[in-house]
């Protein structure tokens, strides 16, 4: 039997932690329904007015679309460059490998603002106009390490025997990649893509410095919260949470047996 310890105590503590995690989310959801001009007490009564406001707010809707666009681009970039990086780190000893590994990991531990100023000075030097694409490149660089570490860990787990067997049987590089490497890392890659998407969607620090005329959702929320926080802010955040639950559950259901939770158990 795996379970040990005082079960009621463990259960109570775990539920307390979940309560802590959900208290602000519930507050956020509750006050999205508040019939009041600003977020907070007193609670004047239920209304769906603020959800209507969200769907009438063109600027807000555009920024949601911008966030999805940027996040999708970040996911594409981190697969295009992160996957080869993980394969390179797993298979080969190339000069500067140790340094490369550290550089790749650096954006995880660096404040986004520092990554942001470094890239901003680069863009200014090469006269690149700030736009959604500059955000995409910045976030892509910062978040690529997620794909690299996840896929690298999986490759190390799998080992090399299958790849070598396939190569000995005459498979070329592309065939090895398509029928051995990719199927092996698929669930790790999918998990990393999901994480990269969710972090990019809510990214503030790198975006803050690299944003041009078009704003992402967090930038729009930031300016809304600094001016006057109407329950509209809560309404849009609630919608994002509900959408994400649908997406996560749908994604897990779709890839049954390859989901994150079942992988770890």
């Amino acid at each position: 039997m795996r379970a040990f310890g005082n079960r009621p105590l463990v259960l109570a503590l775990a539920m307390a932690v979940l309560g802590f995690l959900y208290l602000p989310i519930l507050v956020m959801m509750l006050f999205s329904l508040n019939d009041s001009q600003y977020t907070g007490l007193p609670f004047n009564g239920f209304t769906l007015h603020w959800y209507g406001e969200v769907f009438a707010d063109r600027k807000l809707l555009v920024s949601i679309w911008n966030s999805v666009y940027v996040a999708a681009g970040v996911v594409v970039l981190s697969v295009l460059f992160g996957l080869p990086a993980a394969i390179a780190l797993d298979r080969y000893d190339f000069p500067g490998k140790g340094l490369f590994r550290r550089i790749v990991m650096l954006p995880i531990v660096l404040p986004g603002i520092i990554t942001g100023i470094a890239l901003l000075s680069f863009y200014l030097t090469v006269h690149m106009r700030l736009s959604l694409y500059t955000i995409m490149l910045g976030q892509g660089t910062a978040l690529m390490c997620i794909t690299i570490t996840e896929v690298f860990a999986r490759l190390q787990q799998i080992g090399r025997s299958q790849t070598e067997a396939a190569a000995n049987l005459g498979a070329n590089e592309w065939e090895v990649f398509r029928s051995v490497t990719l199927p092996g890392v698929r669930s790790a890659l999918a998990g990393a893509m999901l994480i990269a998407f969710s972090i990019s969607f809510d990214e503030i620090a790198v975006t803050f410095l690299l944003t041009g005329r078009d704003n992402t959702l967090p930038m729009t929320l930031w300016s809304m919260l600094r001016r006057e926080a109407t329950p509209e802010v809560n309404a849009v955040a609630t919608l994002v949470v509900l959408m994400s639950i649908v997406l996560i559950v749908g994604g897990m259901y779709f890839s049954r047996g390859r989901g994150v939770a079942s992988r770890e158990s």
Binding site: F4, G5, R7, V10, L11, A14, V17, L18, F20, L21, Y22, P24, I25, M28, F31, G40, L41, L80, F81, P84, A85, A88, F94, F100, I103, M105, L106, V109, L110, P111, I113, I114, A118, L119, S121, F122, T125, T141, S198, F201, D202, A205, F208, P218, L221, W222, L225, A229, V233, N234, A237, S244, I245, I248, V249, M252, A261, S262, E264, S265
Partner: protein
């Protein structure tokens, strides 16, 4: 491949075959290695080199003048408030890392040892990652609605009769900053600790129980030591994220809870002192590289192999 080749081919042919195989291998290696190396060179190494170039110059009358002086680095370490702010950010990051680990542990423990059905496990796992998707800004703002002087906590305290006046110490100070950051980053710590606890074989616990160990004994002597790498990995991330945060100080912090990212933003936007901002950036990049090396060493050192 070489062993097969050596039995079939003559010595001379073998040599050419090996050489051509090596050349092929090299080409394949470049195919995988070059694109990511090129990417990180363009988007990280060149920008960092530019930061170095900027940090060695100075600004006069809003214009950048290139130079080769270490003045800006000396300013980071000697002029108030830069070093102090870096240290304070590190302190806030450390507190956040410790509190997140402490808060996360029971939930990770519950998930790893007390949830048997995979359906329920999936549900709890989902409950841990869903708060991630709620906008960070709105979550931080929700704490304002809870802790503020007209907030839910104060109204509740007054209703119960514990206090007559709103308590103001809940918000706009270091406590609320650390609390909010702990709240935001706890899911990272849960996942990282859980991943490590999940690796512990059930047989290990059964063996300990058969030898007469009680619950606390098993926890202190087996589970806790094995979980250290997970706690370390999670703490590195929560520390770093909290260290570089600039939202919580603005939304729920007081005038004295300015952190290093806020200072850098002010240097860029208000003071227009790019060289000093670049110098601070390089100091932090150096600290970051040290942290990565230290964490790699620490995780290696504390990892248990089964």
């Amino acid at each position: 491949m070489e062993s097969v080749a050596s039995t079939v081919l003559s010595a001379g042919a073998r040599e050419t075959a090996v050489r051509s195989a090596r050349r092929l291998d090299r080409r394949r290696m470049l195919f995988w290695v070059l694109p990511p190396v090129a990417w990180f060179s363009v988007f990280m190494l060149i920008p960092y080199a530019l930061l170095l170039y900027t940090s060695l110059g100075k600004v006069e009358d809003m214009r950048f003048i290139p130079g080769l002086s270490l003045d800006n680095f000396i300013r980071v370490f000697t002029v108030d408030p830069y070093l102090g702010v870096i240290l304070k950010s590190a302190r806030i990051g450390l507190m956040t890392a410790v509190f997140s680990a402490v808060v996360a542990y029971p939930l990770a423990f519950f998930l790893a040892f007390h949830v048997r059905s995979s359906r329920f496990k999936f549900l709890i796992y989902l409950l841990v990652i869903v708060p991630w998707w709620a906008s960070y800004l709105v979550k931080a703002y929700a704490w304002k609605t809870i802790l503020g002087s007209g907030g839910i906590l104060n109204v509740a305290l007054q209703k119960v009769g514990l206090t007559d006046e709103p308590v103001r110490i809940f918000l706009y100070n270091e406590f609320s900053v650390v609390m909010t950051l702990t709240y935001i980053f706890t899911p990272f710590a849960v996942l990282s600790i859980y991943a490590q606890l999940e690796r512990i074989p059930t047989s290990l616990i059964e063996a300990a129980r058969n030898l007469g160990a009680g619950g606390w004994m098993i926890f202190l002597r087996i589970i806790l030591p094995i979980s250290v790498p997970g706690v370390v990995a999670g703490s590195i991330i929560t520390f770093s994220l909290a260290f570089g945060d600039f939202v919580a100080p603005v939304l729920v912090g007081g005038p004295e809870s300015v952190m290093v990212s806020n200072v850098v933003i002010n240097l860029l936007g208000v003071a227009f002192d790019w060289p000093l901002a670049a110098a601070i950036g390089l100091v932090i990049i150096t600290l970051g590289l040290l942290l990565i090396s230290a964490s790699g060493w620490l995780e290696e050192k504390t990892q248990t192999r089964f």
